[in-house]
Amino acid sequence: MSDLVIHNLHVNIGDREVLKGLDLVIEQGKVHALMGPNGNGKSTLAYAIMGHPAYTVTAGEILFKGQNILELEPDQRSRLGIFLAFQYPVAIPGVSVANFLRTALNSRRKAVNPEDKGIPIPEFRRLLRERMDLLKMDHAFAGRYLNDGFSGGEKKRAEVLQMATLRPEIAILDETDSGLDIDALRIVSEGVNALRGPGMGVLVITHYQRILNYIKPDYVHILLNGSIVECGGPELALHLEEHGYDWIREKVNS
């Protein structure tokens, strides 16, 4: 069990500084919501935590399980227990959901034990069926090519299926609510809620309060112009829903 501690994080995309000294602690077992208007650095934070090569960290550190994960490759971060549900999941034509998940599980096993022969197929099938049932997914989904021709809702559900299969300790959901109709949103949220617990910290990135009706946050943080400007409980999200972001801009500027 470990918190994810972000300290004074500065991140550039090209020459432009997007995160300007961000501090945030994602506590194990808690759900944190990260809100803020578009273009203020929410997705940049998600990518920087995961280690996307286009995002350059110029200062700061991200500590998890006693190490600065900025020194790790994206796959090492994943194997350490960090998961990012992408806002725009990438299609991998020709690779089925099942084949992909089995490969991902086996990569983890092999990293622990290079001699590992991989998860036995019957065990994997059972695991996958169980996780798909949790998310009310048709089992035929496992045979489809990953994100290839998926609807917006299917892509988001596939992200949560991956999360449910890989069982991370820190999960970042980057606008998982965008593009979902109300039914899909409920199913995805129920899936996340079923996985919540003392062993998983969650960061829900959104700019709508709507998903927070389903995934109740313990804390709400507001990201504006590259840093966290306000923290509070669930009532902060409701306040934003009602009053928008202008009051917080005024408060920051004054």
Partner: protein, 450 residues
């Protein structure tokens, strides 16, 4: 059975200046076994004359524009069957002898420098099936050989076709009589180890009306330090209502200059499922033609290739719709690493009067290193007015976003790239009805990806 010989000419210029002029072969290398029937002596002499008459292909020839064989000139090659036996040559990899189709072989031929083994199930022989090496066929089945040799591929179609026809000391004859349906696959292996050697092969696959066959042929050798050469002919006939599934696997060592002229002629309502797998050779120039000569004839061509190092693979395909209601469907997919290069040049031809022809061709390439290069040249020549023909050609790279996405799930960069490449080849795998062949391609991907 008297198939019409239809010829598609490829533009051949006169010998250009400065073109290489000779290979180290001469007339005396022709097989002159005392017992060879006259028609074969004639066939080989005429082929040799064509070989002498035809210029060496040069990059000024359209078909050879992207495949330069000048580095071949000056290499010394001795036809393997004339080579003095010096150091013992490697024996075939036992893995190459296993069935790839999940069925026990109905027959197997293994051709190696130290000899030929031929096996054919007794009940198949009793049904009149002929499956034997060419040298044996000369002696025992010369009547059938006389009717079919040179009928589908003409010896004078190209310099290397003529060379192979003249010097082919061995090969395979497959003959399936009318209405004989083989459940068990036939399998042959041409094993060609050694440096400084030249191998010539001639495959004849004749499936008579209403018959059916699955046949797997492999050419393979370990990689040597000095060059070797293979020139081959493949002649296929699929009779009316007959069905052939033909898998050709090429894993020559990376020292081999490999040339082949292949054509399948499919009669009325016949069908051919033709699968190519190419991972070997230093350089390959392969001409593969599908001639749909009878109404309702159908052919599918599926190609898998993967190059690395400084390999150069050139596949030149033709889908010739020469009758109405014919269907062709070609998909070739390749991946390239290091400084390797591939060429695919394809043509769908629809003859006048071949109405309701349906032709498809697609070539997809995945370029895995900045120094590798894939050329993809589709073509249509349509002389009938009621047809449907479509084609597509793409050359792409691995997308960095795909790699990051997979790495974010714990796959290291090598595993991520391998999975993307496997996914890229999946549409080809889907077309292959044999687990063993798919597994062979999978392990080729593993080996090439490192």
């Amino acid at each position: 059975m008297s198939p019409v010989v239809v010829t598609r000419t490829r533009k051949t210029d006169a010998q250009p200046q400065g073109a290489p002029s000779s290979l180290p072969f001469h007339r005396e290398m022709m097989k002159t076994s005392a017992g060879a029937p006259d028609f074969l002596q004639d066939y080989r002499s005429r082929a040799w004359e064509a070989y002498e008459r035809l210029p060496l292909p040069a990059i000024t020839d359209e078909a050879w524009r992207r495949t330069d064989i000048r580095p071949l000139i000056g290499s010394a090659f001795v036809p393997q069957h004339l080579a003095a036996s010096a150091a013992p040559l490697a024996a075939p990899d036992p893995a190459l002898l296993a069935s790839l189709t999940g069925e026990t072989h109905g027959g197997q031929i293994v051709i190696t420098p130290s000899g030929v083994t031929v096996q054919l199930a007794e009940e198949l022989a009793q049904k009149g099936v002929i499956f034997t090496d060419l040298a044996t066929a000369e002696r025992q089945h010369s009547d059938i050989l006389a009717n079919i040799i040179g009928q589908v591929v003409r010896a004078d179609e190209g310099k290397f076709a003529a060379l192979a026809a003249a010097l082919a000391n061995n090969g395979v004859l497959v003959y399936i009589p009318r209405h004989v349906q083989l459940e068990q696959p036939l399998h042959s292996l041409l094993w060609g180890p050694g440096a400084g050697l030249a191998y010539f092969s001639h495959l004849l696959v004749w499936v008579e009306d209403g018959a059916s066959l699955t046949y797997v042929h492999e050419s393979a050798s370990p990689t040597e330090s000095a060059p070797a050469l293979h020139a081959g002919l493949v002649e296929i006939y699929v009779g009316a209502g007959a069905k052939l599934r033909f898998v050709e696997l090429q894993s020559w060592g990376e020292h081999v200059w490999n040339f082949s002229h292949e054509r399948a002629r499919v009669a009325r309502d016949g069908s051919l499922d033709w699968i190519f797998g190419a991972v070997g050779s230093r350089l390959t120039k392969n001409f593969s033609d599908l001639d749909l000569i009878g109404e309702g004839a159908a052919g599918r061509m599926s190609g898998f290739y993967f190059t690395d190092g400084s390999q150069h693979l050139d596949h030149d395909t033709q889908q010739n719709h020469l009758a109405a209601h014919t269907t062709s469907d070609l998909l070739f997919k390749g991946a390239l690493k290091d400084q390797s290069r591939s060429v695919w040049q394809g043509m769908i031809y629809v003859a006048p009067g071949a109405q309701r022809a349906d032709g498809y061709q697609a070539n997809r390439n995945l370029v895995l290193s900045p120094a590798s290069r894939a050329d993809s040249i589709p073509g249509l020549e349509i002389l009938a007015d009621d047809v449907r023909c479509t084609h597509g050609a793409t050359v792409g790279k691995i997308d960095a976003d795909q790699v990051f996405y997979l790495r974010s799930r714990g796959l290291n960069s090598q595993e991520a790239e391998r999975l993307i490449v496997e996914g890229f080849f999946d549409p080809i795998m889907q077309r292959i009805p044999f687990d063993g062949v798919r597994e062979r391609f999978q392990s080729a991907i593993q080996a090439k990806m490192g």
